[in-house]
Symmetry: C2
Subunit: 125 residues, 2 copies
Amino acid sequence: MRTPATPNHLDQTLLALADPTRRAILQRLSAGEARVTELAQPFALSLNAVSKHIRVLERAHLVHRRREGREHLLSFTPKPMDDVARWMDAQRANWSARLQALDDLLQEEDRALASAPPPKKGRTR
Amino acid sequence: MRTPATPNHLDQTLLALADPTRRAILQRLSAGEARVTELAQPFALSLNAVSKHIRVLERAHLVHRRREGREHLLSFTPKPMDDVARWMDAQRANWSARLQALDDLLQEEDRALASAPPPKKGRTR
DNA sequence: GCATCATTCAACCTCTGGGTTGAATATCAA
DNA sequence: TTGATATTCAACCCAGAGGTTGAATGATGC
């Protein structure tokens, strides 16, 4: 379903987060910088696989890579997650606004019914 | 990178959200129930494609389907998004806790340096 | 009954995601 | 230099995502 050929930031961020290995990596990184090998250590995965996961996180700008000699130091950069949080908040605001509107409608109906006795059948006139 | 063969709820939710078409559908649904054809209308996509997107959202429990005659009425169910929000909050709490710890460390160091003049070379004792 | 409308099912295509292994590159340490 | 270490590159595999088209299913309206 190639939607547009231009995946936006939200797409990339959410996609990057949609994998338990990558979420675990982020969790580890939120405790501080780590090297690729360190990050790979807890997983039953080849180093290469983890390297790829890191690339996905980088693409989403969720991590930043700092080279120091032969070691690559990865660190967590939270901005994209803030963006996701903002989108979700907006979405939820939308949703609760709609619920509120429904509620208002029902209340108004109740008031109308209370002021005029229910015409069970036939018109009032 | 088949991590486990058991994609958990977060995986499915985030994956479902990682597509602009599906996010648009959710946005539309947060304004109220809609039929499949209505949902498909804004997109330059086959009805079938949209039907598939809806299935993905269903799999993630982000929408609920109610059949009424030949029409399928879709509605937004926000719980999975709440779960994502909770995960992200936890993640951010983690992160800011770490920053706070770093800050504390620096402050303590500063205090230490202020009380004892800096021994530029050689041990104190 | 029959045409129509709403939706899915089935088959297929292509692209990408996640994984592997093996070789290449670059740095460090001796 | 030489060998070990840290990491990526390249090629490949397979499953699944996203899309298409065409047929099947199931209500509805006459």
